[in-house]
Point group: C2
C-alpha cells in the first residue's frame, strides 16, 4: 500500500460531470490498494471570474482581500469532490489551507510555503479517509489566507507529496505528458517518457505550460517523483525525475517558445558603473519582470542595452525606461512588440559542443534572424521575429532529431 | 464615539455596484465618528446556486462538505467590500469564521454559536480599521466550517453586537422596517416605529421574513437594540427592543401569514397513551418539522389528530404517516395542501379579553372558515383555506385598527 498524491487541473473539475469523472480516477487508485491525497484547482474560468470581480471593485485590489476572494474557487471544488466521494461510499474530507494548516510567508498573491503540518491529514488517512486538499492556498502566521501565484496548485501538490513522503505525485491535466515541443504547433512532437528536473524546469520557465516552474524546483529539492498524466488514458505520461544515465545521452530533449515577449533597446548609453542598476531598479520596483538582458560591447564609451519584458508590461515599462533613459543620458529607446523567444533544452548540451552552432545555422538557413541570444548550461534561447515562431520550432525539431525520441 | 454593527442582506450586495453603495453607507457611519463592524450575506442568489451545485453532486450532500461549500458566498462579498473600502481610503479587513474565531457547536447546516473571541476584532477597531465579518459561518472546535442555517447572517450580526457590546445593530435589507403586515398584500400596512422582542419573535416565526427568529431570540437574551432599516433612506426603520409602557397599550401589533402550509389529519385513532409519540417521532426522525398540532376531544375511545407541515415536506410526511396510521389502527389519513396560517401578534393580548373572539368573528363575517386554532400568550394563529389569505389579512388589519399605528 503506497501513498499517492493526485492533482487535477481546472479543466478536469470544470463542472459536476467532470468532478464525477475525477472521483472515478481517485476511486480507481483507492481500489488498487493505495492511500490517496487529492489536490484540486478551481473550476476552469472561476479564478479569472473572481479576479475580474476584484478588478471591478478597485483598480489595485488590496492583496490580503484579493487572496481571500480568489481562494474560494478551490474551496468550492474540494467540497464538491468530497461530497461526490462520500455519496459513492468512499469516506472523504476536504482540507483548506487553514485546516491543515499549510503555513506560508505573508507575501500575498505569490506566497511561499514554509511548513505543512501533516498530523491531521495522516490521522484521516489512517482511518481510510480520502483527503482532498484545496490547491493554491495557505495561511500565514496570523491566519490570513494567502495564495501561491498562478498555477500554484502544482506547487501545493508537490509540497504535500514531499511532506507526506508520497511514493509519487500524479499531475493530471488535459495533456497526457511532456512533449518535445508543443504538439499544437508541431505535429512531429513526441511525448517524452522521462525528463530530468533541470530540463523540466528550463522548459517550464521558457514557455512549456504543463507544470509551474516552482513546483519543479520543489520536486527537485525534495526528490518527488512527478508523473504528468492525462485522465483520458490510464497509460502514458511523463516521469519527471532525477537525471539518469539514459538521459545523459540526449543532447536536446525539448523545444519551447514564448510569444508573450516584447523587446526594449536603450540606445547609446554612456558606459559607466551603475547604469544597469539605474535602468532596472525602477522596473522591478513596479513589479515588472525583465527576462533576457543583453549588453553590447562598449564602443567609444557608449553601449546599447536590450532586454525583454512580458507583452502586457510593455507600455508601463516603456514609460519608466523613457524617464530613466533621459536621466542617464541615453540617445533614445526602441521598442519591438513583435518578437518571440525560442529555446532548446537538454542536459547533454553541457558536454556536447556544436549545439549552439547547429541551432543558429538551422535558423539562418530558413532566413530567421536572431535578435538576442542567452544561454545556460542546459538551455539556449533566441529572440526572433514572432511570425517565425512555428517555422523555427519545426526546423529545430527536425535538426535535433526529436521526432525519434521516446 | 459608539460601536455600531451593520448587517447588509443579499439583495444589497448582489453585485459590485451595490457593494459600492454599501461601502458608502459604512463610510457615512464612520464619518459620523462611529466605530463600525459590518456583517454581510452572500450575493443574492449565490447561496441557492451553491446549494444547487451540492444537490447535483449527491442526493444527500455530506453536511461538513456542504457547509464548507456554501460558506464561500459570504467569503466573496466580505473580501469585495474590504477591497472597495481600502480603495476609497478607509482601511478595512475581512474576517471569516475561523479568523475571529467564531466558535459554534458541530451541528452542520444549523450550528449554534458558542463563543465569539473579540480580541482580534477589537485590536483592528482600535487601529481605526473597519471590520467586515462573513455572516452565516463559524467553525467548530476541530476547525470544521459550520453554517448557522438559512438567514443565519442576522444571527451573526446580533451575536457580534452582543459580544462587542455594540450600541446598536442595524439590519439593512430592501424593506425599511417591520410593518403591521406585509405591504405587498395589504396596502394599508403601516411601518412600526418600535416592536418588542417577543412580538418580533412571534412575527418572525409565523411568517414575517424581515428577521430570522434565532436572531431575535439572541437580541432578547443579550438585550441588543436592533434597528431594521433600508439603505434607500436614512430615515425610518423599526427598533426592536425591550417591552416598554407605550407598547403595553397595543393589543395587536402585527398580522402575519404563511402560505407554505399543508395539513394532515389522522382520522379515528384509538385514543390511548403513546399515540402522539408514535405518530410524530418518525417525522422528526426524518427532519420534518411539525408546526401546529390539534387533537380533538375523544369520542367513544377514538379521536382525530390534525397537524401542519411545510408544503415541501408533505409528500414525504404523508408516506411516513400512512405507515404509522396503519400500525396504530387509525381509520385513514386526509391531506390538504391548500391551506395557509394567519396569525395576529401583540403583547397586550395577554391582558385584554375578547381578542380571539374578535378575530374569529371578523373572519366568519367574511365567510372564511377556520380549520385549526393555536394560541400563545401573545399570538393567535388560525389555519384557513389558502385562497382567503389576502382577504383575511386585510379584514383583520381593519378589525384591529392597525392602519392607525405608528
Amino acid at each position: 500500500m503506497s501513498l499517492i498524491v493526485q492533482k487535477f487541473g481546472g479543466t478536469l473539475v470544470a463542472d459536476i460531470g467532470k468532478i464525477k469523472n475525477v472521483a472515478q480516477k481517485v476511486i480507481y487508485e483507492r481500489k488498487r490498494g493505495n492511500t490517496v491525497v487529492v489536490i484540486l484547482s478551481a473550476m476552469a474560468g472561476e479564478t479569472d471570474r473572481l479576479i475580474a470581480l476584484a478588478n471591478s471593485a478597485a483598480e489595485v485590489p488590496e492583496a490580503r482581500e484579493y487572496d481571500s476572494l480568489i481562494s474560494t474557487g478551490e474551496q468550492v471544488t474540494v467540497s464538491l469532490l468530497a461530497i461526490v466521494l462520500n455519496q459513492l461510499g468512499y469516506p472523504a474530507k476536504s482540507f483548506l489551507g487553514f485546516q491543515i494548516p499549510l503555513k506560508t510567508d505573508n507575501a500575498h498573491k505569490k506566497a511561499r510555503i514554509e511548513h505543512i503540518d501533516t498530523q491531521k491529514i495522516r490521522k484521516e488517512l489512517k482511518k481510510g479517509v480520502i483527503v482532498v486538499v484545496a490547491g493554491f492556498q495557505g495561511v500565514d502566521t496570523d491566519n490570513n489566507i494567502t495564495t501561491l501565484g498562478r498555477g500554484g496548485s502544482d506547487t501545493s501538490a508537490v509540497a504535500l507529496a514531499a511532506a507526506l513522503r508520497a511514493k509519487q505525485c500524479d499531475i493530471y491535466s488535459d495533456v497526457d505528458g511532456v512533449y518535445t515541443t508543443d504538439p499544437n504547433i508541431c505535429n512531429k512532437a513526441k511525448r517524452l517518457d522521462k525528463i530530468s528536473y533541470d530540463e523540466m524546469l528550463e522548459m517550464a520557465i521558457t514557455g512549456a505550460k504543463v507544470l509551474q516552474p516552482r513546483s519543479v524546483e520543489m520536486a527537485k529539492k525534495f526528490d518527488v517523483r512527478v508523473y504528468v498524466k492525462s485522465t483520458f488514458s490510464n497509460q502514458g505520461g511523463t516521469l519527471v525525475t532525477k537525471e539518469d544515465k539514459d538521459m545523459e545521452k540526449e543532447v536536446v530533449s525539448g523545444i519551447t517558445y514564448d510569444r508573450d515577449q516584447a523587446k526594449i533597446t536603450v540606445v547609446h548609453v554612456p558606459d559607466k558603473p551603475g547604469i544597469a542598476a539605474a535602468l532596472f531598479s525602477p522596473l522591478s520596483g513596479n513589479n515588472i519582470n525583465v527576462d533576457m538582458i543583453i549588453q553590447n560591447a562598449s564602443l567609444e564609451g557608449h553601449t546599447d542595452l536590450t532586454f525583454t519584458v512580458s507583452k502586457k508590461d510593455l507600455m508601463e515599462a516603456k514609460k519608466i525606461v523613457d524617464a530613466t533613459a533621459k536621466k542617464i543620458g541615453a540617445k533614445n529607446i526602441e521598442v519591438d512588440d513583435q518578437v518571440a523567444k525560442i529555446s532548446i533544452i537538454g542536459v547533454g548540451m553541457a558536454s556536447h559542443s556544436g549545439v549552439a552552432a547547429k541551432m543558429f545555422t538551422s535558423l539562418a538557413n530558413e532566413g530567421v534572424n536572431i535578435m538576442m541570444i542567452s544561454t545556460s548550461e542546459i538551455k539556449i534561447s533566441c529572440v526572433i521575429q514572432r511570425k517565425y515562431t512555428e517555422l523555427a520550432v519545426s526546423v529545430l525539431h527536425d535538426a535535433f532529431g526529436l521526432e525519434k525520441k521516446k
